[in-house]
């Protein structure tokens, strides 16, 4: 008699499936995940997990957390990051010390794999939410992430 019980089980599971999609159908007005870009350009907020570009946050006194260790440059599989570094005199100790001059990031080569962010020991770089990257010239996508005149945040290296 498993023939008939199979049929009833089949019908039951089909109806369960239909009730799930039916609920989605009824709530779709509120729950729609589609963003009507660019109509809502001003209010659009990307998801937390969104990987738009690599950014380097700076605090109010124009200080970042990058020590210039170059781990991200080594980790990057396609040479997106180029760190141009320098040696400067540390004001406190008076010793010579490595610091970044320019953190060059070629967005046009980045695959958003996230290895650089994972590998950074001081959390100096993060994911940005920008996605409007259409330009007429590829060079416009090459960015220097540390702002001019920025310094290393004290205490990062400890």
């Amino acid at each position: 008699m498993s023939y008939f019980s199979d049929i009833f089980k089949g019908i039951k599971t089909l109806l369960t499936g239909m009730s799930v999609t039916g609920k989605y159908f009824l709530t779709s007005r509120k729950g729609a995940i589609t963003q009507q870009y660019p109509d809502n350009r001003d209010t659009l907020k990307m998801f937390d997990r969104f990987r738009g570009e690599v950014i380097m946050p700076h605090d109010e006194e124009n200080r970042h957390r990058c020590t210039g260790c170059q781990k991200c440059e080594i980790a990057c599989p396609n040479g997106t990051i180029e760190i141009i570094w320098d040696r400067g005199i540390d004001e406190e100790t008076g010793k010579k010390k490595k610091k970044i001059d320019k953190f060059v990031y070629h967005l046009s080569m980045c695959t958003m794999c996230g290895l650089c962010i994972d590998v950074c020991p001081t959390d100096a770089i993060k994911w940005g939410q920008n996605f409007e990257n259409s330009v007429y010239d590829r060079t416009a996508l090459t960015r220097v992430l540390n702002k001019p005149g920025s310094k290393l945040m004290p205490g990062v290296e400890d």
Binding site: M18, A32, I33
Partner: protein, 354 residues
Amino acid sequence: MIRALSITKSIHDWLYSSMSENMAHLVEMVLIALVYLAIFSVAGLFLVLIERRVAAWFQLRIGPNRVGFQGLLQTMADALKLVSKELTGTERADKFLYNLAPYFVIITALMALAVIPFTQDFQAFDINIGILFLIAISSIGVIGILLGGWSSNNKFALIGAMRSGVQTISYELSIGLSLLTMILITGSLQLSQIVEVQKNGWLIVQGHIPAIIAFMIYMIAGTAETNRAPFDMAEAESELGAGFHTEYSGMKFAYFFLAEFINMFIIAAIATTVFFGAWLSPFGITESIPILGVFWFLAKAMVLVFLMMWFRWTFPRLRVDQLLTLEWKYLLPLNLMNIVIMALIVWQNLIIRF
């Protein structure tokens, strides 16, 4: 044979008074064909739009809403685009059959519409073997699909066409038998007669349990007939590109596409006629206004069309062996059993009538 709406009476009289009888008959038939063609190509386009919006809602999207108010003109624009596109073909394709195939599909779809009773007087062709005609016509459409796949000189198209053949041959049986179950109650194949019988309650109520089983089988087999998901192996996008119409472009592709949607409407319309009382209003509430019959007919058909869309966006596609198991091991024996039960019910007069 042609029963015209009362509005068209004057045109009818004028035609018969101004020319010979045969001539008038011919002109009248051509006029009716043109009117149907115009109405249903537009209606088919709107069905496409409805499908897209409904699909979007099922998937928590918004759907086309830019062209015209709420995207109402979207499919019109798509059709215009398709008209203006180049008609391409493959090398060494069988040109004659290749060009013929879309017309087979679209013409059979439109022919089936002729017998459907939209309301008391809005039925182009009230033939006395109505149901048989519908079943016969709907099987011709598959020839178009087979020809299209065969002549395209493309492996995907051929596989899609063959699958479609397997599917239609199998599920035709279920469609026929489930409708036959209902014919046991009505005792007539003529669609206007079938509607007449339902004045004492829709057939799904009259035939209660076996009628509901027959309806379920009909809806499953009907979805399979139209090659829609979950039975869309004939055009399984993820396996076969686009199946039998892979090589078609422009307007010929549009014919296939339109035919699919008109067929969906026809399946829903047959179900409406046979199970849900066609243009009869529930409990006869608007019996005094016959023109409202069109509204009731379309409302019922749209509910069934929605049901088929619901199937499509819920269930995953069946494999070929699962498809054949479902038909030959489940639907067919159940159907035969159901006919026996229905025969007993009709014999013992256990029909529910008001």
